[in-house]
């Protein structure tokens, strides 16, 4: 059976790539610490020696649109073009071509359907920065095949937080049942408190530092029940109008099955708090 060798959950800050490429003269004062933290975080994945990456993210109105909006979608294509013109324009993100692992994607799809997750699928998916940011930060070689899984945290009505946790647990179980010798890492990106296009955007910190510190405690200590007791679709409006992206972290807590994180780090940046978590399933 396949082995899950690392579970990584992180924020996806689209400006990291550009910041990391700046010369010392032009880089902002926080760049050095940011790059150091990301470099340390990258090592937590590198040392697990994965063969394939299951990547959880969320399309930002690039390919998925309001005329047919899936709640959870698995990419099952052999390749993924990645990043869009407007991400190059706004964030300086280059376009990429990533390989896909169709066998694992189809296994996740079919087993998911069997156990009660009516997953949508895509044979031609251009992934966006929710998938490529963790490539740039923790696997910049972009050399491993991926299985992208998109969640809808963006276009309400959204699935309930508990479904994100349940989907995470289900993905974990399915990957562990995959008849393969491959070493799989499951990587997901979400948000802590975040405001986009609203009055609290782009402040000196994330819009709700209290929420952030609570959320980091939930994630790093595997407090799934506590998070579920406090978080609802309604409550997530309060920390910032884009904070529903926290549900992707809840999905990753489900993947980690309540385990305490083996690695946890944060960085208080303008606009948002960055956070980095890694779990090694027991026995790794």
């Amino acid at each position: 059976m396949a082995k899950i060798v690392a579970i990584c959950a992180t924020t996806h800050h689209p400006f990291y790539y550009k910041t990391s490429k700046m010369s010392e003269d032009e880089a902002p004062p926080f760049a050095k610490e940011w790059i150091e933290k990301v470099t340390r975080y990258r090592e937590t994945l590198t040392k697990a020696e994965p063969d394939v990456l299951v990547m959880i993210g969320s399309d930002h109105f690039h390919q998925l649109w309001l005329n047919s909006m899936p709640q959870f979608l698995v990419g099952n294509a052999p390749f993924y073009d990645a990043n869009y013109y407007n991400e190059e324009r706004e964030f300086g993100l280059p376009q990429l071509l990533l390989r896909g692992d169709v066998e694992l994607a189809n296994f996740i799809l079919e087993k998911g359907l069997e156990v009660g997750f009516d997953l949508a699928f895509s044979n031609e998916l251009r992934v966006d920065h929710s998938i490529t940011c963790p490539i740039f930060t923790i696997r910049p070689e972009a050399d491993l095949p991926i299985v992208p899984i998109y969640t809808n945290i963006f276009a309400p009505p959204l699935p309930q937080p508990k479904r994100f946790v349940e989907l995470g647990k289900t993905i974990r179980t399915i990957v562990e049942e995959w008849p393969s010798e491959k070493r799989v890492a499951i990587i997901g990106t979400g948000h802590l408190s975040l405001e986009l296009g609203g009055p609290r955007q782009f402040g000196p910190h994330g819009p709700d530092p209290d929420f952030d510190s609570k959320a980091v405690d939930w994630i790093s200590n595997g407090k799934i029940d506590e998070a579920l007791a406090e978080v609802s679709l309604e409550s997530l409006h309060a920390p910032g109008n884009a904070t529903h992206g926290f549900m992707d972290f809840m999905l990753m807590m489900g993947v980690a099955q309540g385990q305490v994180a083996d690695y946890a780090d944060t960085l208080d940046l303008f606009h948002t708090m960055e956070a980095y978590f890694t779990w090694y399933p027991k026995g790794e």
Binding site: H60, F61, H62, W65, L66, N67, S68, Y84, Y85, N86, R89, E90, F154, A155, P156, P157, L196, G197, G198, P199, R200, Q201, F202, G203, H237, A238, N241, A242, F270
Partner: protein, 120 residues
């Protein structure tokens, strides 16, 4: 109210570099063109299969024609779509880093929670 159609305008303009410039330079003309040509195109089906019933309310059309981001926010237009397009069109007019984004936030300062509903 047709939040969906407002969002569709923002979405289809933002993803086309030529339309971003056209909307920046001539908002009124771009909205008129869009309502005739682009708006009725149902993305994902053949171009000649036009949507026949979508339209903008007068206040929605006016908000788009006037680049009125505050009115768009008040109507529940998706804030990510508006912000992204505004960065593309107007970030260049500010000299300080994040100048446009902070000016944008200040323009919305009177909004309290709960913000206008963006559900479509």
């Amino acid at each position: 109210m047709s939040k969906y159609y407002v969002n569709k305008f923002l979405f289809t303009i933002d993803r086309d570099p030529a339309l971003v410039e056209r909307y920046r330079d001539d908002p009124k003309g771009t909205v008129a063109w869009w309502l005739e040509e682009e708006g009725p195109r149902n993305l994902g089906v053949a171009g000649f299969e036009r949507t026949t019933w979508l339209s903008l309310e007068e206040d929605e059309r006016e908000a788009l024609e006037k680049h009125d981001k505050v009115a768009l926010f008040a109507m529940g237009a998706h804030p990510f779509l508006t912000l992204t397009l505004w960065i593309a069109m107007f970030e260049r007019d500010f000299t300080e880093p994040l100048g446009m984004q902070l000016d944008y936030a200040a323009a919305l300062a009177d909004f309290q929670l709960p913000y206008p509903d963006i559900t479509t």
